[in-house]
Point group: C3
Chain length 138, copies 3
């Protein structure tokens, strides 16, 4: 068994879900493993990871709206020094994932038909988000 | 060290938490490992995974009610083409887990006394849910 | 490749986020691995794990307040036999993490600059919380 790591950079331009499925799947397949375990880890606390439907783009927009309603920018926050979008970003990160682990079976990630991998950006301004990828297997 | 994978199918009949602890524990123990890492991955975006108290069944009902309040079927959603329960199902999935990873120690999963593994079904109609299981260890 | 496990005990004294970054990092570094995968698993259903900003302590207080608003102690719960803070604790656990997995690269956990590891205590009284740690690598 062997392991390999990688850093994936994603540019974001405002709140929303950014599909990273192809980038992750391509990197995995280049490692030439048949069976293993992939871990994605986002190195930030104001952007997160989620697995969601990749068929109807309205799902991603509705998700974005839901999280904006549940953690509004005008909430009663102490932490306002980094702008009105920062504390809601931390809350949205806490409510979703910083890490995802996915089995690799017969050379393919075990994603269901409608599952896509997304970086969920919660800040208003442009960001460069870094993900650590770790693949273990053979 | 070696790895083994499995597909677990669970039938659901409406919203709620379905206990899969015994099925997962039994499969793990059959692999004859003493130390390792188990990953459960649900291949859907309208059902999810959670670890919750397995003592008082009211906890599962209260959880189901909480998620129905926070993501109601009559919310202001764009994505309504798959029925009024579909977009709330995606939201509830984003708020809980698509994947769980649990250490195996001395031949047993490191679950606490009151921890049970659940498939959290969010759709109204009957479904067959597929989980990928991956166990690594020796 | 080899694996090692550990139990980490954390005392808590009321709701809030307890920083366990140093304890986890120290244990990891003692194992002398360069590349691997660390899994933290909390063996409870009324306390959870989260990765959050470790710079401004107001972020942790705002997070605690947010979760108290979204899952109030006076909610319409069936499960009240363990006190008014118990069902909200299960909800807050479902909304955050029971498990975190983090790659180890070049001898260091792949945490971003501002990422800290926290036990999120949801109960009112003092507790001793147990975490299973699992590190795999070489």
């Amino acid at each position: 068994m062997r392991q390999v790591t990688h850093t994936l950079n994603t540019d974001t331009h405002g709140p929303g879900l950014y599909d990273i499925t192809a980038a992750v799947v391509n990197w995995c397949q280049k490692q030439g493993m048949q069976q293993g375990l992939l871990t994605l880890f986002i190195k930030h606390t104001s952007a997160s990871l989620t697995i969601q439907e990749n068929a109807d783009p309205d799902v991603c927009l509705d998700l974005q709206d839901f999280f904006a309603r549940i953690a509004p920018q005008n909430g009663p926050y102490r932490h306002t020094c980094e702008g009105p979008d920062d504390m809601p970003a931390h809350i949205k990160t806490a409510l979703t994932q910083t890490q995802l682990t996915i089995p690799l079976q017969q050379g393919h990630l075990a994603l269901g038909t409608w599952q896509g991998l997304y970086v969920f950006e919660h800040r208003n301004h442009r960001q460069n988000r870094r993900l650590a990828l770790h693949l273990l297997g053979e």
